[in-house]
Amino acid sequence: MPELGRAALIVCLGLALYAVVAGAIAARQRRQRLAESAQNAVVASFAAALLGAAVLFTALVQNDFSFVYVADHTSRELPLGYTISAFWGGQEGSLLLWLLILTGFSAIAVLLARRSAASLLAWAVPILGGVITFFAFLLVAVSSPFATQAAPADGAGLNPSLQNPYMLAHPPMLYLGFVGLTIPFAFAMGALAARRSDELWIVVTRRWTLVAWTFLGFGQLLGAHWAYVEVGWGGYFAWDPVENAALMPWLAATAFLHSVMIQEKRGMLKIWNVVLVIGAFALALFGTFLTRSGIISSIRSFTESSIGPWFLGFIGIVLAGSILLVLSRLPLLRSKTRLESPVSREASFLYNNLLLVAFCLTILWGVLYPILTEALRGEPVTVGPPYYNFFLKAFGLPLLLLMGIGPLIAWRRASLRGLGRTFAWPTGFALACGVVLVVLGAGSSIPGLVGYTFCAFVLASLVLEFVRGTRARHALGSSSWAGAFSSLVARNRRRYGGYIVHASIVLLAIGVVGSSAYDTIVDQRLRPGDTLSVESYDLRYRGVEDSRGANAQEIRAVVDVSRDGESLGTLRPGKNRYFAEQQVSNEAAIRSDRLNGEDLFLIADQIDPDGTLFLRALVKPLVNLIWIAGFVFLGGAAIALWPDAREQRRLAVRYGRSEALARA
């Protein structure tokens, strides 16, 4: 079976190489049959990658330990779900997943663009082929998932922290996001290579960017929830380089999704948009490099890593090639229009872009600095959460405010009188909320108070936008208010879907501020029978339970929870001792209050043989809003992604008529 996997990957590599060479010749010499053949090669590369993935999947499910990868990442006792998730639990498998998604997305993009953007496809195909070639080459020559050995009796098992249901969805989601950013990059570069200055590449890739951005955003939230429930330190985001690796391309893609609207509405920022697309793709590659090259642990492990130098070389080629292409096409990208006023919708988008990119670069510097210092001085300098938290407040709070300001300002320019009228209600509401919060004691954290006041402003401005829009549509003849509301959203799904995404960011901000600025942490040593009070909760430690699970010994501290004498149930924080992996993991216990979104979070830091427990208890107000925000985010993204038949007709007329004129 491993021979079949290897053969599939070699065929995939051959097809990708053909797509690069034949695609480039076809685009240059305008040879249509050769171009279609190169497109077919991209489509066929998906079939080859799928076969390779099927071989590894079968080996995993059958516990075929003659595959080195299977033996290194699974064991006989590992439950089936986690055996499947081991596909992306190691370097070779996750690279194969990259290739599978990349070829799948590329095949879909090629088949769709054949109908809607045939003239743009010619140069996009060799670029897609180039990226596929790199990953197929890594899997064939550098890091093969099909290496074999004499099968051992059992495997080494999977890292215990990866044995969580979230690991079934979180990594694939992130990969769907990372890889999805390849498509806008390929079409943007294809348009530049073809010397096109029109916006067809934006039309073709708009949905791809939005899909990739949605997967990246939701994937990160799943990862945060995994960290919260599984890693057992009481937080959900630690500014770990692996977490930053996914956040950076998401920030760049967020900036692009906003700035591309300025290009569509005003014909401005063409160079900036291309740079953002290149940046988002390069950061997606860099994210994969960070997580897979070993560079995070040390420079030494990077230099010993099989794929690190290859990745670095490829990122260098992508950046150098893209920048040269942009520089050679600068005259095509110059905008004819200029910003008319610093107080306008497009100006607010521009400020939002500058803040997002500044935040992204700050994170990038925080990730690179320890690596560079280790390379230059021989010892790494740690960049910890205080650095990132400072910039989160410095850039995040103005960004939050801009989310409320942007929708209220008109395009081109806004007069002071108009601004006063539009901003009166949201500003008044936000200030009133701020006063109420001070009275309620929220003044203990100034950033928290400012954050909540800004959240109130954004929510008020969003509600106002929906109310005024619905009223306008009702006045235009919609029979009912519900009809007016649905007509409002249906007529501009991107805008109102975007507003719902903004609402999800507000929910996220409320949850983050509440759980970080107003949380309570208590550490206490307890003997069986001892009690502890945290905020309004009373905890009583009963003793230790010990049981055998499917693949681990489960030790639990039994803690009764009550509030004002009323029992709220029993929590069991503890530890798991994994048999095959010979590792111990923390198993936190969480009680969520559905009414106020608060969590009581218990960590058994240490359980001594005599039953003494070192307990850490955290009360995290509003933390559950973070997870609810994920579903609101998905809802908003789905509305924005929903096809708009009227817009599609308009675009078909625009580009169809132009292509017809070209034929005449």
Binding site: E3, A7, Q32, S37, S119, E264, W411, E465, R468
Partner: protein, 110 residues
């Protein structure tokens, strides 16, 4: 040859056939033509101005911009739209140039 290698060879053969399918056609089809930059730029600019006009109407209707701001912005936009529309429709649009802007205007795009 092992069955696995045979399957691999079959995959390679199928891929070659699929890639070669376009060459089995008797005649080279015409390459998709890239529309002239000027025509496409004009079409994009026309759509952009019309969208801006709709947006302006809607912003005015929702109270986001004042009557005064609306009047100041709508004239240049209508002139731009009239210049960009095809001749048969530009007549109607150019007539609107000299009519006072309607407050609030016709159907808008929310």
């Amino acid at each position: 040859m092992s069955p696995e290698l045979l399957l691999g060879a079959l995959l390679a053969a199928a891929a070659v056939v699929f890639v070669a399918v376009p060459f089995l056609r008797a005649k080279e089809p015409p390459a998709p033509l890239t529309p002239a930059d000027e025509a496409l730029a004009k079409a994009e600019e026309r759509d952009r101005v019309l969208a801006e006009l709709k947006e302006l109407e809607f912003d005015h209707r929702t109270g986001k911009i004042t009557d005064e701001d609306y009047r100041r912005q709508v004239y240049p936009l209508r002139r731009q739209a009239a210049a960009l529309l095809p001749s048969e429709t530009s007549k109607d649009a150019s007539e609107q140039r000299f009519s006072p802007p309607k407050l609030p205007s016709s159907r808008s795009d929310g």
